[in-house]
């Protein structure tokens, strides 16, 4: 890799950053293992565990039956008894199959036991639309997880964060969900070779700006950045905040940004109605009411399941264009 350094920064695609993060965690933590559907021989249908079965063997890279309740149960039971499982739920949509295990067992065990149990379990799962996979393979359900005391929820928007969040999650002694995005897998970023953590509970200002704050989650960060560029051309200097950590939510960074810009928009890929954007808006208007010069706008998916047809999916997924339009509406330009 020193070769690569010579030629400039070490760039890795999101998919390889996941692999590297998981590999380093497995190297660091003897009691860590990966379990999930087709994580072993297939290396995940998204490819991000490829090579790990050969490297670590089937004791630590465990193919499971198609049994999401069982898989999360495996993670809960193993975490409570001395392991540090990395559980893979192939598509986030499949959380429906194991919501009880997530919401009523994993999230609550420590509390119900009066602090008796510690659950160092990480769940990796893939969200997002854009591949014409239709209503059951394209959802962004972070709002469900955010409403569950007892779990933490991260959304890496780029390769650097993907690796650093997987490492931070795996080192954390709580259940942590890392909600990844399938359209970002090929996206490159500079990723250091060594282990590092992206701190849980810290948003990132990915573009500084003075006139408008855009709070974006997951892949929408890139749409927000694109929108900011367009808006720059219109003379609007946008700050883009990558929310990154859904729970805990970094309200401090968000509030500071809006106190500076006085106007804001929240964007997520999830359905707008009932999405996490509502929580962000509610907090911001409470904490920074006197600084607001306009209502906080929200961009999210319309109130419908994700459609299959490329023609409709394109209309469905929030994008830079819609962000720009909303910002312009807020500014009355």
């Amino acid at each position: 890799m020193s070769e690569a350094l010579k030629d400039g920064p070490r760039m890795l695609p999101y998919v390889s950053a996941i692999t590297e993060g998981v590999r380093q965690v497995l190297q660091e933590q003897d009691n860590a293992f990966v379990a999930g559907e087709d994580v072993g021989q297939a290396g995940s249908v998204f490819g991000y565990y490829q090579g790990l079965l050969d490297e670590f063997g089937d004791r630590r890279i465990v193919d499971t039956p198609i049994s999401e309740k069982g898989i999360i149960g495996l993670g809960v039971g193993a975490a409570a008894t001395g392991c540090r499982p990395i559980i893979d739920i192939m598509f986030m949509d499949f959380l429906g199959e194991c919501m009880d295990e997530v919401a009523n067992q994993m999230a609550k065990m420590r509390f119900m036991f009066g602090g008796g149990a510690t659950l160092p379990v990480t769940v990796l799962t893939m969200a997002g639309a854009g591949m014409n996979l239709a209503a059951q393979h394209s959802q962004s359900w972070e709002a469900f997880l955010a409403h569950l005391p007892g779990v933490k929820v991260l959304m890496p928007s780029n390769a650097y964060d993907a690796k650093g969040m997987i490492i931070a999650a795996s080192r954390d002694d709580n259940p942590v969900f890392v909600v990844m995005n399938k359209m970002s897998l090929a996206m490159q970023a500079e990723v250091p070779e060594e282990m590092y953590e992206v701190p849980i509970g810290k948003a990132a200002i990915v573009r500084e700006g003075a006139a408008f704050s855009i709070f974006a989650m997951g892949r929408m960060v890139h749409e927000a950045l694109a929108a900011a560029k367009t808006l720059e051309g219109l003379g609007v200097d946008c700050e883009v905040v990558d929310v990154r950590s859904i729970q805990p939510f970094d309200s401090e960074t968000a509030v500071a940004s809006i106190k500076k810009t006085h106007r804001a928009l929240v964007v997520h890929e999830a359905v707008r109605f009932g999405g996490f954007g509502g929580e962000i808006v509610a907090q911001l208007q409470e904490e920074a009411f006197d600084y607001l010069d306009a209502p906080i706008a929200r961009v999210g998916a319309p109130f419908s399941p994700v459609p299959y047809s490329p023609a409709l999916e394109k209309l469905y997924i929030p994008n830079a264009e819609r962000i720009v339009a909303e910002v312009k509406k807020v500014l009355g330009i």
Partner: protein, 328 residues
């Protein structure tokens, strides 16, 4: 060969399998050519199951299908044109382009949907069967699911309830030996999914899923039993998919050998059935050729229809989320 089977039935079984095979081969090509987006899970190799089971169902009977659902749709009466249109994401498709390959459905044909959720079908089919019994019709609901799906809790709950209520329901497990890239021996400790039937109090039957007559006969018994009000059956069909889990060549993984695939192809359901029908004089080489030719024509027309159909538009996006109008 079973008695009492008319030549017409034999010919129908054959042409059903050929239509499925040809549709899938073509769909696979169109996907590889980038004309069909999304994920296609093709049914090539498993044709005997859909054909053999569906031969006993009318439009009024219901099925639930899977992510690997085209074969079921065709055998249940699905037409190529709206199927291709759906795969293309066009507004003339069976689901107006909203569902795609994993959700093709048609209520008039009794198709309660393919399903993108593994194990999604059995509870719904059980519910339809409950409804059939409740409404005192003679309809039967059949749910297709894979060996992999048999490990989902939803299968378990549906099977138990169907047996408890003695519902007109048939559970057809298409055991093709794999859940995605995971071999059956790596996802369950049993060889026969049908062994699970006893635990629910229903008969479990294993049949060669490459032998359309064997499927036909076993399905006949199970469906008759269901229709007579004697309750559900778990019918396991041992079969194999020739293509990869998704698409034709898929991810190019080496989870099985070419030899294994070839060995199954030696027992190809269509070819062996053709040999039989030729031997018995039910079909001639020429007639067989015609079956393929007709399927090819259907494909050509279907693809042309799909390609010339319009995409859904903005107005369609928020339609069909809710029923709007007077309550029935």
């Amino acid at each position: 060969m079973a008695k009492n089977i008319t030549n017409k039935t034999l010919i129908d079984l054959h042409s059903c399998m050929v239509r499925i095979r040809r549709f899938e081969e073509e769909a696979g090509k169109l996907m590889e050519d980038g004309k069909i987006p999304g994920a296609l899970h093709l049914y090539v190799g498993q044709e005997a199951v859909a054909a053999g089971v569906m031969a006993h169902l009318s439009n009024k009977d219901q099925i639930t299908s899977t992510h690997r659902g085209h074969g079921h749709v065709i055998a249940k009466g699905g037409q190529f044109a709206p199927m291709f249109a759906e795969l293309y994401g066009k507004s003339t498709g069976y689901c107006k382009g909203k569902g795609g390959s994993m959700h093709i459905s048609n209520m008039a044909l009794g198709i309660l949907g393919a399903n993108g959720i593994v194990g999604g079908g059995p509870p719904i089919a059980m519910g339809a069967a409950f409804s059939n019994k409740f409404r005192k019709t003679k309809q039967v609901a059949v749910t297709f699911f894979g060996d992999g799906a048999s490990n989902e809790g939803s299968f378990h709950e549906a099977a138990n309830m169907a047996a408890l209520y003695q519902l007109p329901c048939v559970f057809v497990c298409e055991n093709n030996g794999f859940g995605e890239y995971t071999r059956q021996t790596n996802h369950q400790a049993v060889t026969d999914v049908a062994d699970r039937a006893a635990g629910y109090g229903m008969p479990g039957v294993v049949v060669d899923g490459m032998d359309v007559m064997a499927v036909y006969e076993a399905a006949e018994a199970a469906i008759k039993r269901a229709r007579a009000g004697d309750g559900p059956t778990l019918l396991e069909c041992k079969t194999y998919r020739y293509y990869d889990h998704v698409g034709v060549r898929g991810m190019g993984l080496t989870y099985r050998t070419d030899e294994e695939v070839d060995a199954w192809k030696q027992r190809d359901a269509i070819h062996s059935f053709e040999a039989l029908l030729l031997k018995q004089g039910v079909l001639t080489a020429k007639k067989i050729e015609n079956v393929y030719a007709r399927a090819n024509d259907e494909i050509k027309e279907g693809v042309a229809f799909a390609e010339s159909s319009p995409f859904p538009t903005t107005e369609d996006l928020l339609e069909d989320v809710y029923f709007v109008g007077a309550a029935s």
